[in-house]
Symmetry: C2
Subunit: 131 residues, 2 copies
Amino acid sequence: MEPLYSITDLAREFKVTTRTIRYYEDKNLLSPKREGQRRIYGSRDHVRLRLIMRGKRLGFSIEEIQGLINLYDVDATESSQLYKFLEMIRQRQQALRQQQIDISETLSELDKREGECVALLGNTIDTGRRK
Amino acid sequence: MEPLYSITDLAREFKVTTRTIRYYEDKNLLSPKREGQRRIYGSRDHVRLRLIMRGKRLGFSIEEIQGLINLYDVDATESSQLYKFLEMIRQRQQALRQQQIDISETLSELDKREGECVALLGNTIDTGRRK
DNA sequence: CAAAAAGCTAACGTTCACGTAAAGTAAAGG
DNA sequence: CCTTTACTTTACGTGAACGTTAGCTTTTTG
């Protein structure tokens, strides 16, 4: 049996406000059932909210996240749309690969700066890093 | 001798408007020389603009990018600030590592979807991927 | 040399992603 | 039974990141 969530359940779990969750519904990213007037969220919404948060951490707009989620959702049966669909996937992949490059560049620069700092401060401080 | 750029030079190269470049100056991310009233950008500005664009691709706000650039810039001589500085570096690293995880998750999901698509379309289409 | 092109400041406009306040309903607890 | 507590809709407010328009100077080009 499916787990059910109230709006505050989700808000707590994902550390956002209820306003934010309703906003995503407004943008058609979530579509909870209703029990009277109240929103009831199922596991599908739970998954989607996780995808939304991940998208936000990657700096995507709601619209882009919308697109990404649809990539998972569409049961691509129509071959005419399938090609466009594939195009979109590849565009997304391309952007993500660029992000990977950007991150590793930035990280290696930060590592360098970190090394300098640690050297200046002496080795008294734990790096917080497991080797 | 240092290469020099006009505002439109930079705008063209980085595919942004001149307005955007002036906006970054307003936010103290760039500080071009002046020749009369005109802005003259040097290699320092050029580098900074590259860092800005990279930050934007990673979804950072101007303020965060500001912080990141300062991490490269600060000649951390004051040991009191050095620790705080190190803290900031580590926070940034943490966020970037999370982004790496998010990206690889997303990419592997997209790869899966891509595989499904390609299978449905037959192998007639080049993947655009060098092996 | 006149006109188009490039640059400038100043200021108002716009979109996104929510925050916040108002005003009402519904369920749960002391 | 009354009052918190949770939830609802509606609507105006807000900060970030520019877009756009206006009005003016400077430079380049046919």
